[in-house]
Amino acid sequence: MTTIDIPRLPAGRTLRLGVSRIGYEVKTYFRQGDSVFFTFLFPLVMLTIFSVAFSEQSFGPPGEEISAAAFYLPGMLAAGLLLSGLQNMAIDIANEKSDGTLKRFAGTPLPVVSYFIGKIGQVLVTGLMQAALLLLVAGLVFRVELPTEPEKWFTFAWVFVLGVSTSAVLGIALSGLPRSGKSATAVIIPIALVLQFISGVYLGFSQLPEWLQNIASVFPLKWMAQGMREVFLPASFEVLEQGESWNLPGVAIVCAIWLVVGLIVTRFTFRWIRKDS
């Protein structure tokens, strides 16, 4: 048998295809009605509900009171990171596994890395738009006073990027958990919901019992929410935190550990298809 000459693919296509995937992913994301509502608009809906429901109440120590919208804004931003990253990725990829999308890709010369650039890119783009929308509505509609100091926005930037990346990578790692695309929402949404309740998104974190705070501290969402509180709450709220400190280094360390864990799990478990399944 004569050998067959297979031409080499040109170099640099992984990045080019990754960018092309981002465009494709963002486009299809916004065409999916349920993901737009449950992932993209959900934190905004919740912020609106809390702001309206608790409009008569104020939060915080006497003299430093803030509105319900201001109190819940950091939590909703953190919830956005979790929803746009973890929940969105885990359900999206579990669906793509079961509807044949990944099997189709497996038969094409699309690099796996390009696929992931597309996924992470989609999370970054939609997460950023979501945060911008939340801040816009909080500032313009609910009259929340947003910070003006550059260092606050710098903290916001790194907490956002680290948080959304960690969340996305964990979502990819979790996408192998549901047995089928149909069960994906049933498996993933409760995980995300429980995390949100124990991590200070819907319930004030300082009101939770200490043992629950300790459990929540194992997971990254509590730290993302804490980072966001540092940015958006007055300094007088710091005493309410665990250890009476915003503990930004803790935020960075715990998120980074989970990011690495997610990357390792993804590296060893992600396959286009399960052969012989």
Partner: protein, 298 residues
């Protein structure tokens, strides 16, 4: 001649179940090879091993000179794959999807040309999820050929096509053949295999029970014409190599038919014979007079 696909003693078992039990064949460059067989016979297992989707238990397989279990992206860029099941029902239009996939390949076909070739010009701006089953299948075929593959795998490609779409598909495959594309086709439509295939292999129970040119498969005996007529209201039939002489002798009986066994008749005889335990391996089906299917009457 170069073998684009070469398979030797291919075996695949899942636990105690043997899906493939020693299959061997070659496909030469530019050839269209039809793999036929009943459901569960091992057609898709074979094709998915060659596409790199499944691992083989033992035996040798080479696709474009590469072990399909180890093919990289360069190798995949030379393949076109139309899977048996239709893929995702995406929120993406036909044109967007084809343009996106075209970007994966170094030497992709023109998107407009491919849309026209599969007859989806009118639907090119429609979301894929809103298309009918047959139209989605055409998108699958379009995605299979967009990369200008050297080797095209078609696993039951025309399922859900209306007759017109099938004819159009056949024209498309003929034009790909004319460009020198090598094609491995599985289908349940035996007329399709007869129209498109150069050679066919018939697989049953995980074994190749016959292989050969489309016009030779089953052996000469299986192709002996059948003369059928009514005599005193009774159905009579006789196999003969000289049907003209027989008809001349019969005169003008009622219900006279001269039937040349179609590929489908031969196939059914072979598979029926195999299932009845009459055919062990690569032998020809016995020309029995019990062929009862509707052959193409001459």
């Amino acid at each position: 001649m170069t073998s684009v696909v070469s398979v030797r003693d291919l075996r695949k078992s899942y636990g105690n179940f043997t899906a493939l039990d020693g299959v061997s064949f070659d496909i030469e460059a530019g050839e269209t090879f039809a793999l036929l067989g009943p459901n569960g016979a091992g057609k898709s297992t074979t094709i998915e091993i060659l596409e790199g989707y499944r691992d083989r238990t033992s035996g040798e397989a080479s696709v474009l000179g590469v072990d399909p279990g180890k093919g990289g992206l360069d190798w995949k860029a030379q393949l076109g794959i139309v899977l048996q099941s239709t893929g995702e029902s995406g929120n993406i239009t036909v044109r967007e999807q084809l343009t996106h996939f075209a970007g994966f390949y170094p030497n992709a076909r023109d998107v407009d040309e491919v849309i026209a070739a599969v007859g989806l010009e009118a639907k090119q701006k429609a979301m894929i999820r809103k298309l009918s089953g047959g139209q989605r299948r055409r998108v699958d075929v379009a995605l299979g050929i967009i990369g200008r593959p050297e080797l095209l795998f078609l696993d039951e490609p025309t399922t859900g096509f209306d007759p017109e779409a099938r004819r159009q598909f056949w024209e498309l495959i003929r034009s790909l053949k004319a460009e020198g594309t090598t094609i491995l086709l599985t289908t349940h439509y035996l007329d399709e295999a007869a129209q498109l295939g150069d050679r066919a292999g018939i697989i049953a129970g995980g074994r190749l029970i016959d292989i050969g040119r489309i016009d030779e498969i089953g052996g000469a005996d299986a192709r002996v014409p059948l003369v059928r007529w009514l005599e005193n209201g009774q159905l009579r039939e006789e196999r003969t190599t000289t049907p003209g002489a027989l008809v001349a002798r019969l005169g003008e009986p009622e219900g006279l038919e001269v039937i040349r066994p179609s590929l489908e008749d031969i196939y059914l005889t072979l598979v029926g014979g195999y299932e009845a335990g009459e055919v062990s391996t690569s032998s020809t089906g016995e020309g029995s007079t019990t062929v009862t299917t509707e052959g193409a009457a001459l």
